[in-house]
């Protein structure tokens, strides 16, 4: 029995369909990723699963409970780490964790132990009694991660967990998330628009765009599906027919002076390929990444450098001076 079952989940805001009939399942123990650009519908989907937003159509069963019919039971089974900060600035890290423990009914005898363990996992033990107003963005995210699993939920939702953080903090967070999955055996669903993150962390990924699941598979299979390495050559007049007939060239695309080839063992065959290309201004060669998968599936690039999260309806925070 899958832990999460989603059938035709839909969300419409007036005329705009943010989430369009999503259907998939998530198994216990997985780290499952929803990968897609800003505005794809990832945060909206997660919010529906967490009972923060009522679906317009479809069903979702979380740990056997229907999100529409038994929301309280669903919320008992999950933990949620939000994209935007959601802790109380005036309280210390430890106090935020303590309140969370109370609200989730953690047994009084276990509260202290769970808080200590959580703080230890995210390396905030020595900062626990400082008011959160003084925390950096990375520290805050780490504290909220510890808070999310404090009550040992079966499922943890992470909404863009490393958005806006520096590379070092991101790496650390990935380590913590992996630990949660392997050591604490929590099933994790995360949304992200960072390819590297999805590739590194997830057992399976659903690629989402415009509210629809375009493809669902393991990162490995996705990359294999490309059928080879990618070679990009900037050139004016390649001999396309010749290239197409080469055994090891699986795919040829030529547009606007850019030649995109999928080649098995590109490193080995590059010389022969270049002979058929003529004058090349630039050559790039790499093993397939998820980014390439995305381009193949949607025909466009996914901008990774954007710092803003998605979910405009939720991002109402005005960051006044006390952040």
């Amino acid at each position: 029995m899958p832990l999460i079952e989603i059938k035709n989940l839909t969300k419409k805001f007036d005329d705009f369909t943010a989430v369009d009939s999503l259907s998939f399942e998530i198994n216990e123990g997985e780290i499952f990723g929803l990968l897609g650009p800003n505005g794809a519908g990832k945060t909206t989907t997660l919010s529906m699963l967490a009972t923060l937003l009522p679906p317009t159509g479809g069903d979702a069963l979380i740990n056997g409970f229907d999100v529409a019919k038994h929301p309280t039971q669903v919320r008992r089974s999950i933990g949620f780490v939000f994209q935007d900060p959601s802790s109380d600035d005036l309280l210390t890290g430890r106090e935020n964790l303590y309140l969370h423990a109370l609200m989730y009914g953690v047994k009084p005898a276990e509260i202290k132990k769970k808080i200590d363990e959580g703080l230890k996992l995210v390396d905030l033990t020595d900062k626990q009694n400082i008011r959160m107003r003084k925390y950096s963005g990375g520290m805050r995210r780490r504290l909220e991660l510890a808070r999310g699993f404090l009550h040992s939920p079966k499922i943890l939702f992470l909404d863009e967990p490393t958005l806006g953080l520096d590379p070092q903090t991101r790496e650390n967070l990935w380590v913590y998330i992996k630990k949660l999955s392997t050591e604490n055996k929590i099933t994790i669903i995360l949304t992200t628009h960072y390819m590297e993150e999805a590739d590194k962390l997830c057992d399976r990924i659903a690629i989402i765009d415009h509210g629809k699941v375009i493809a669902l598979d393991t990162p490995g299979n996705f990359k294999k599906s490309l059928g080879g390495d990618l070679v990009t050559i900037k050139t004016k007049n390649p001999e396309l027919d010749e290239l197409k007939h080469m055994d090891y060239v699986k795919q040829v695309q030529f547009k606007d002076g850019l030649l995109n080839l999928t080649v098995i063992d590109a490193g080995l065959h590059l010389q022969k390929i270049l002979e058929k290309v003529g004058k090349a201004e630039n050559v790039e060669l790499h093993s397939p990444t998820l980014h390439d998968v995305f381009i193949k599936l949607t025909g466009r690039q996914m901008r990774e450098d954007s710092e803003e999260g998605e979910g405009g309806w939720m991002t109402r925070s005005v960051h006044s001076g006390n952040k």
């Binding site: 967490a50 009972t51 039971q73 919320r75 005036l90 969370h100 609200m103 989730y104 808070r147």
Partner: protein, 259 residues
């Protein structure tokens, strides 16, 4: 049917209430600011206006003493309604999301917040009562203290719920300010807090009689000063009905909160 786990709801209620208390005590400016306004009214308005009002013309008390119950009510109105403002700020710093995703009934969340806000107001009232006894010649005995607190608590619950209801529906603090002017000021000025009801023209008398806050003012005056226009029984009936109605409205609005 989902089971209602009373003990976990209570723990959650306590957590939400406790957070309000922690936040309140960490912003002492809130408490100080909340006390200054009523004190200023009592001292300046009470002394100033009291100097032109003939002693004895306000039903046998001096004007400052006559004003005192109204000042308590004003404190409740301001502190409780503005408490609702903090819900909007909560939405903005998004702490509310953390509460909404917890496995608690929306009603529990509402009561936790309402009780938290009421406790803040109660603290202010107690300080005012002490100051009133020391500096303004207000006499309290055990019975009147208990009754005063009961009356104040009923009003606190009613107005905090109203404030939370407004805060749940509004989106920005600016819009909230507008509503407050249209709600707090009429409630206060048309409640008999500043002047006795008996000598008013008919149209004003009617408005004051419809205003539920008038009955809290009257009840407090009855208990503290021994003066009453409506009688304690009617006062308590109205106060309890008002509190119940506002709690229902507040819970309804809170369940519809939009992030």
């Amino acid at each position: 049917m989902p089971k209602l786990n009373i003990s976990s709801e209570l723990k959650g209620l306590y957590a939400i209430w406790y957070r309000e208390i922690l936040v309140f005590t960490r912003e002492p400016s809130r408490l100080v600011g909340a006390i200054i306004q009523p004190l200023l009214w009592l001292v300046i308005f009470g002394t100033g206006l009291g100097s032109i009002i003939e002693p004895g013309s306000v039903s046998g008390a001096n004007y400052q003493q006559f004003l005192f119950p109204g000042i308590l009510v004003m404190t409740v109105l301001f502190s409780s309604l503005f408490f609702g403002l903090y819900i909007i700020l909560d939405k903005r710093i998004d702490f509310l999301k953390e509460v909404l995703v917890a496995p608690l009934n929306k009603s529990t969340m509402f009561f936790g917040k309402a009780l938290g806000g009421s406790t803040d107001g109660l603290l202010q009232i107690i300080i005012l009562m002490v100051l009133g006894a020391i500096f303004f010649g207000i006499h309290f005995n055990l019975l009147s203290v208990i009754l005063t607190l009961v009356i104040v608590i009923l009003l606190l619950i009613a107005v905090t719920s109203l404030g939370l209801a407004i805060g749940s529906i509004m989106d920005s603090p600016e819009g909230f300010g507008l509503i407050s002017s249209f709600v707090i000021f009429p409630l206060f000025f048309l409640s008999g807090a500043l002047f006795p009801v008996t000598k008013l023209p008919i149209w004003l008398k009617i408005i004051v009689t419809i205003n539920p806050v008038s009955y809290s003012v009257d009840a407090l005056r009855s208990v503290i000063l021994g003066i009453t226009s409506y009688g304690l029984l009617l006062d308590f009936t109205v106060m309890i009905a008002f509190a119940l109605l506002m709690v229902i409205v507040g819970t309804w609005a809170f369940k519809r909160i939009k992030l």
